[in-house]
Amino acid sequence: MANLTIKNLKKSFEATEILKGIDLEIKDNEFVVFVGPSGCGKSTLLRSIAGLEEVTSGHILLDHKEITDLAPAKRNLAMVFQSYALYPHMSVRKNMSFALELAKEKKDVINQKVAEAARILELEPLLDRKPKELSGGQRQRVAIGRAIVRQPKVFLFDEPLSNLDAALRVQMRLELARLHHDLNATMIYVTHDQVEAMTLADKVVVLRHGQIEQVGTPLELYRNPANRFVAGFLGMPKMSFLPGTVTALDASSVTVELTFGGSVTLPAAGEHLRRGSEVTVGVRPENIDLVDASEASLTGFMDIAENLGSDTYCYVKTDGQETLTVRMPGNFTCNYGDRIGLQLHADECHLFDEHGNAIQKPTQMAA
């Protein structure tokens, strides 16, 4: 069992407040990903959980036991660092057994645990090598092995894949997902890569400026972002935003007159909106169609088209100089500067009020 509860956690370095009151509940066996732009406090939060940073105020509870001021070693957590932080003069075997030896475990228990971890991570042929004789991916696996042998209650990962090249990163991402499944362990993972967040997480925690913006499953966050920041942060390529004014509204829908042409009527429970309210419509690349300029009220010029083989991402500039990203099939072709019409899938659009907060869809309210 490993339930981690964080209550009103605050951390400041002198005058700068890094964490401004974090409340979070992490359940047993969950894979939780902290994600956010650099400087949002996600690493600091992880290090506070590990005990490497002293917190200014607040509580961290592991299985209802206070660990806020406990020494790092006594918290029963294991951490994998971005730089791997392997002990350079120790062999792979010694790196993995170090914690157990310090804990004065029996020799045969240590050997058995190291052998088990080496088997899981396919490190058996490398056990007697030194870290400098290993490749990046192998070092990463040793760092994970060092965490596994301790059988901690919670695994902490601090951007563990960011030092690997793209191909290896994809492979290690899969291995991590498998590892979580096999070990059935609670894992907390920090990253700025939203692909890692979307693919690995049971629960994503989006942080900005030391505050939690939204918590939820990857799909929840993708489909129902709480605000403009979360909507823009998750999704690749990013969601496009169009300013507009509310022209009509009823209990289940809102009609928005877009500033630079066209209007959309989208399902939204805009109780606190009035006619004339300034709003923003957010639309993901897959929810726009390109049509002939004469068929649509919203038009723009084709800027750049990126062909990825399977898809083509078209960047279209509207008359208001906003860039909209549109996903088209891989065989789509067009020319730079073409006048093009844009058709939004109104049902899939997101609506944000003037503060950037999302206006929920009516079905969401009923549920």
């Binding site: 005990g51 790092p72 951490m79 002990y87 350079p88 914690a99 804990a103 400098k132």
Partner: protein, 315 residues
């Protein structure tokens, strides 16, 4: 290893086709190169060969400045005299004691002090400069400061402290002569160790230490499992360089004890000096000098074998 193999491949392949056309040119440039460097090589060779051969020659003849003209060949008699002289064994053991103790003190204290000043505290910059400063004081001045200001039995600082506590001041140079020399030399060389170890500590990986803390390592385990292995290389450098300089300590002895009382603070360098310039026996001193050269080479051989391995090893 892998990287060198990879590098050698394309490099040698690229060099091969050029070899035929360039070979003549290469031979020409290498001849010019040799011609251009020859003046300095010749000067350096003369600089070494002339004194060495003169020393060997002097060591094989009777050559006492008090008996000019009486310079007949005596074979290895000088060497025999030098080795069987009572001062030789004393000089040998004093040299080893001096080098060994100073190495021990500077390395142990150097590690501890550099660990201490590696912590952040107010005024650390000034403390670091103060710690390094004794190294900039020339040996003679250093010895005089210790002799007249610190260790003097009447006016020294130590004597004042002893008197303050009601104890009888110690006459350091007559009661503990070799220990006094060791103190002075250690004070002089400690900054060197601190300087090297302090900079080495700054490159100690922070995340490794954090990982070890999470693994349950206390301060002692951190020191022995992470810090000390990290410092192995700089410690090796300190030991090598200090050994070279400590074998020839002279000024500190000359200005304080003059090798005495008796032979108690006479090391090999001082013994050779006293043979040549106090007893005017150049032949005997030359023999002693050659023995010292051989001893230094033996020491260098073992040091390089012991320590050189850790220096050449890739980290």
């Amino acid at each position: 290893m892998k990287s060198t193999a990879l590098n050698a491949g394309p490099a040698s392949a690229a060099a091969e086709p050029m070899q035929d056309s360039r070979q003549g040119g290469i031979r020409k440039t290498s001849r010019i190169n040799r011609f251009m460097v020859s003046p300095s090589v010749i000067v350096l060779a003369l600089w070494m060969v002339v004194p060495l051969s003169m020393t060997i020659y002097f060591s094989l003849i009777r050559y006492n400045l008090l008996y000019p003209g009486d310079n007949e060949f005596v074979g290895l008699e000088n060497f025999q005299f030098f080795v069987t002289d009572f001062g030789f064994m004393a000089g040998m053991s004093n040299t080893l004691l001096l080098v060994g103790s100073v190495l021990l003190i500077t390395v142990v204290l150097g590690v501890l002090i550099s660990l201490l000043v590696n912590q952040a505290f107010w005024g650390r910059g000034i403390v670091r400069i103060l710690l390094i400063s004794p190294f900039f004081i020339m040996p003679t001045v250093n010895a005089l400061i210790w002799k007249n200001l610190l260790l003097h039995p009447v006016s020294g600082v130590f004597a004042a402290i002893w008197k303050f506590f009601g104890a009888t001041p110690i006459d350091w140079f007559s009661e503990f002569p070799l220990f006094s020399i060791i103190m002075i030399v250690s004070w002089q060389w400690l900054p060197f160790a601190i300087l090297l170890l302090m900079t080495a500590l700054q490159s100690l990986d922070q995340e490794q230490q954090e990982a070890a803390r999470l693994d349950g390592a206390g301060p002692c385990a951190l020191f022995f499992h992470l810090t000390l292995p990290h410092l192995a290389r700089p410690i090796a450098v300190v030991v090598m360089i200090e050994t070279i300089f400590l074998l020839s300590i002279f000024a500190e002895i000359f200005t304080t004890t003059g090798g005495g009382p008796g032979y108690e603070t006479t090391n090999l360098a001082y013994l050779i000096y006293s043979q040549a310039l106090l007893q005017f026996d150049v032949g005997l001193a030359s023999a002693g000098g050659l023995i010292a050269v051989v001893l230094a080479n033996i020491a260098a051989f073992f040091l390089v074998r012991l320590i050189g391995k850790s220096l050449t090893e890739k980290q």
